[in-house]
């Protein structure tokens, strides 16, 4: 691997200042599972790694009844997958965490890093001077685009690779960011940005800003939730399409619910009118079928990925029926 310096800041503020003043020549290191791959493949070339893994207080899972769940940014994916309260009350999140990559990577990767991981697009990861790396064009648009987005694309057509981001979107989570000596908290839907806003990054973070915590509000009583991830093989794979849902049911109907999808867009995808449409939806084959037809009306599949639209519709039908049957 190439040479770089390694700094162990003792406070968050120190880490933030180093990252801010050195801009792109420094990179933040936590679990490192994505960062070291990016360096190895020469996609990024930092002179300095700023290690925040040893900072105290950012690796806690705290649940307060009536308030919600707080996850420090350094909480490991495996700790989320195995946490009993998360399994019981935020099932969609433990479902998503437990199907990420492999046991080894879940033991090292952090929730903060999972949200901030870079895309898996093969043109981005391999030796193409693509638009996301500062080049002129998106090679996927007219190239091999089986795994690319069907909605929200342009001028770059990645999909966001994070599973937890999709679950957290359905859970209406908030992301806390350390920024210029202060903390700010934003809805996760505002954390991720489309390529049309900025095709060089996937989220709003500016140099020196660090994700410190994820907050999930207390769910409604009797809520049910689930995450379904469709992979080409049954282990260690990114989602082709995934769906997260959180819903309340009464008398064979959905009284309120949220849906979010992975693998279909450059951000975890949610459509507000679909969430509204879920309220009052009957759990019978015809109603669910009809509902699934209204998915992604603005989708524009590329040459090789129209199947994703069908897959997303079928997974959506499945998740609604499976949650209702649980």
């Amino acid at each position: 691997m190439r040479e770089f310096n390694f700094t162990n800041p003792s406070t968050l503020d120190e880490a933030s200042k180093i990252l801010k003043t050195s801009d792109s020549s420094s990179a933040l290191l936590a679990g490192g599972t994505d960062l070291l791959s990016l360096i190895k493949h020469e996609i990024i070339d930092p002179e300095n790694l700023v290690n925040i893994k040893n900072l105290n207080g950012f690796d806690k899972i705290v649940y307060r009844k009536g308030e919600g769940l707080k996850l420090g940014a350094l909480v490991r994916i495996s700790d989320i997958a195995e946490h009993q309260i998360i399994k019981d009350k935020f099932t969609v999140l433990s479902d998503a965490a437990s199907v990420i990559a492999s046991p080894q990577l879940r033991n090292m990767g952090t929730i903060g890093g999972n949200l901030c991981q870079r895309p898996r697009c093969w043109y981005y990861r391999e030796e193409f001077d693509c638009i996301r790396k500062g080049g002129d064009i998106c090679y996927a648009y007219l190239g091999k685009n089986k795994y690319h987005c069907i909605v929200g694309g342009g001028p770059c057509y990645i999909v966001h690779p994070s599973d937890t981001a999709v679950a957290l979107t359905a859970l209406d989570a908030k992301v806390t960011i350390y920024s210029n000596g202060d903390y700010k908290s934003i809805p996760i839907q505002e954390f991720f940005i489309l390529p049309e806003v900025n095709y060089l990054k996937e989220n709003v973070l500016e140099p020196g800003e660090i994700v410190t915590e994820i907050f999930i509000p207390e769910p409604k009583a009797d809520v049910k939730s689930k995450y379904i991830k469709f992979m080409e093989r049954n282990a260690w794979d990114f989602a082709v399409v995934s769906v997260a849902s959180v819903m309340n049911l009464s008398n064979g109907k959905i009284s309120s619910g949220k849906l979010a999808w992975g693998g279909v867009a450059p951000v975890p995808w949610q459509e507000e009118q679909l969430n509204q449409k879920m309220s009052g939806l009957s759990i019978d084959d015809n109603s669910v079928e009809e509902f699934s037809k209204s998915l992604f009306e603005n989708s524009e599949p590329l040459e090789h990925n129209e199947y994703k639209l069908i897959l997303a519709k079928n997974l959506t039908k499945r998740i609604i029926k499976e949650i209702a049957a649980d």
Partner: protein, 159 residues
Amino acid sequence: MQMIAIEFNLNGILVKAEVNPGVRLIDFLRDEYGLTGTKEGCGIGECGACTIILDGKAVNSCLILACQIDGKEILTIEGLANSGELHRLQENFLKKGAVQCGFCTPGMIISAYSLLLLNPNPAEQEIREAIAGNLCRCTGYKQIISAIEESIVVNIEND
């Protein structure tokens, strides 16, 4: 390049070292300590041949920098045998013919060891999930799973 001083526990022995920040843990273990049981397959965390135990958890040593292990405990395949006596996982891999070319074997055994640490009595599905990050290109998974099943004892603390 400034060197980083680290101190860690390697297979039960406290070790001090100075490392170049760009050195990966896998290279550090193999080149500095001759612990070549830990293999490099893909180098990007997909094959699991480089699996070691870090503070009780299985991790890919190809995606960790040596300077990140300051203050931590590392167990490699070489640390499993006790006074020259193979660990029962190692014995059962031999007994069940779970070794073909052998390249994935140390990583498989370490992943299995990590599973048994947390879950002394795993079901077959749990074994499959525990080795989901380890590829065997000889595809001898059946024998590997059977060797791990054979190694289940209820009382792992005595190991």
